[in-house]
Amino acid sequence: MTAGSWLCLLSPLAATIVILLGGTRLTRRAAAWISTASVFVAFGGAVWAFFGVHAQHVIQNYSCIDFGLRCQAPGELTTAWTWLASGNFHVGLQLLVDPLSTVMMLIVSGVGGLIVLYSIGYMDGDPEERRYFAYIAFFVFSMLMLVEGGNLLMLLVGWGLVGLSSYLLIGFWHERTSAVRAAKKAFVMNAFGDATMALALFILIAHYHSLSFGVLGGSGLSTSTANWVALGLLGGAVAKSAQIPLQTWLPDAMEGPTPVSALIHAATMVTAGVYLIARTHAIFEQARTIELIAAGIGALTLLVAGLIALVQTDIKRVIAYSTMSQIGYMFLGAGVGAYSSGMFHLMTHAFFKALLFMTAGLAIHALSGEQDIRKMRGLGKVMPFTKWCFLAGALALVGIPPFSGFFSKDSIVAATAALGTWYGWVFWLCGIAGALLTGLYTFRLWFLVFPGEPSAFVAEHHHKHGRWGEGPWTMLVPVGVLAVLATVGGWLQWSPLWHPFTKWLQYAAPTLAAAEPSNTLEYVTSAATVLAGVAGIALAWAIYAEKRVAIPQLPAVQRLLENKFYFDAAYDRLFYAPASALSVALRREIEEPVILQGGPDLGQTTLDAGGVVRRIQTGLLRTYVFFLAAGAAALVLAFLIAK
């Protein structure tokens, strides 16, 4: 079981090292396949670890509980060695294999493996293919480090490394200025979150001298300290998961290659914030206010991102805003205390959002890199496979039964209502409104891109790829597999009737009792969200399909949405402009007069002083002796007088 987790962690790292050291001795194809194989080996390791935990879980459920014995919660912490020690503070190189981390391992390596396989076709012919595959394997390693890390420091290391690999992959096409800018933006915003997380860890070290997950449940913190720790962790989660107010980097991150968007900016890395809340739920429960703030942030983000997605014209940006919106749902679920629902939505979202990105990638590939949806009408006619797979992903995203999103999203929305407080109902309404927006923006995309006769642009630019016309098998197989997963993946759990997923997580992140909805509430919520989703689809059909019902023009609202609620502009004004004004001023007032002029001045003064002092150096031995003797005599005199 622990061997499986080490295999899972180290196999992608080995692939990175082999590809980087191999350089041009490896063919591009070989590098691609090494990378893919390593991630599938990691998946094997994850499955191994999963069955290990599963066996313990069965024992826990059937022997310990039935016979009233006390057993350890399933899972195992393995320590390779003490990584750093200072006084009584020790941190080991530890991996934790427990129900929560195995779920994440399976998602990261499973979906990751499919996406890396897809990249073989997508990146074919890129001059720097090897570098890409080295980076992407490194990303999988970092992400696995994040989810498997057995203490908060290991988690933070993984957290930083995924930020690094995200930076490297967003800026992969480094000759494009926009890609480099986007990479920097993502890195800086994530660094902010890393810093707040590090501060939270410092507080924990100061109080407990330990960073193991066990201390989070301890009772040694005052309420305000617990609030600060939770706030620091929340800062990290918000930055990584692109939630308001640190959301602006995610849409720009679409400058990276599409498989990167699918893997990092949809399926795995950006959902790490939800994992963090579930993992550190003990501290968030001590700081319930902060946890509800997390839920509030999620509710706000899901609405704001859904609204912005309505006016985007770049196919990848629409999906990116949809990702933000869906992570908002996950935050909502984790924030109210329904961790397993949040994690379940994380899993189904990984399936259908990766699927949507990869079908978008197929479309972009077939249209020689065009991403503007206004030019794409009628693509379904020439790309039927892409069309049907996209439809499966879109229905899952909107949450239409029996597609997977239905099962995961509804239980989150129901859990918010289960709180029973006024904010619980506000969250509930946000969730329903979000479902309407999801239906609207998703099917706006669908009706603009797929049905109908091919537009002039599509007819002119579309060209066939691979044997089946839509792409090589390396791209089509992962899309097909994910389409199946996006359809059936949700059947794993339907909270009113069966909930193996929640049971699986009950030892790692048990749902709060306050967030357990009654069955009636579940059914009512399901009906409401599905109706809202269908209403959204109907609205999209009316506005964007053949009929084109005219909608009232609201230029002010449209401007607001197209400028993404002016977050970017506000950050420019608030942070960028003062910072750059300050540095210009510092350059003028400090750099030029003090530093640039100070150096030569200092040198000249030293030279002048040397010119005076050097006269003492006569070169005559007898003068030196005289001064020595005179000095000694003066000292003796001084002593005598002083006495």
């Binding site: 150096q617 070169g619 005559l620 031995l621 007898r622």
Partner: protein, 102 residues
């Protein structure tokens, strides 16, 4: 304790030291300068031994031995320098050997 008192030894030591210091200051031949240095060191040594006897404490004698060792090594280096100067056919005059003037 027999023989002259400690004061006499100290007066002699001061004379030796003074003669040596004058020699170092006035003479220009490096050999004589080294010789005068030896006089100064021995003056110092004499004072050390005198105090050692005065206080009936062996430490002064140990210091004296140490000074002798230092003096011996100093003379080795000094005479070596004199030989080297001579071999280079440079003047044996400390006033004219003033290349390190600032």
């Amino acid at each position: 304790m027999s023989g002259p008192g400690t004061t006499w030894y100290l007066v002699l030591a001061a004379f030796l030291f003074g003669i040596g210091a004058l020699g170092v200051l006035i003479r220009r031949n490096p050999l004589i300068v080294l010789l005068s240095l030896e006089l100064m060191l021995n003056g110092g040594n004499l004072a050390l031994i005198a105090f050692s006897r005065h206080f009936a404490d062996g430490a002064g004698q140990i210091f004296g031995l140490a000074v002798m060792a230092v003096a011996a090594s100093e003379v080795c280096v000094g005479l070596g320098l004199v030989v080297a100067i001579n071999r280079k056919k440079l003047p044996l005059d400390v006033d004219r050997l003033s290349e390190l003037r600032g």
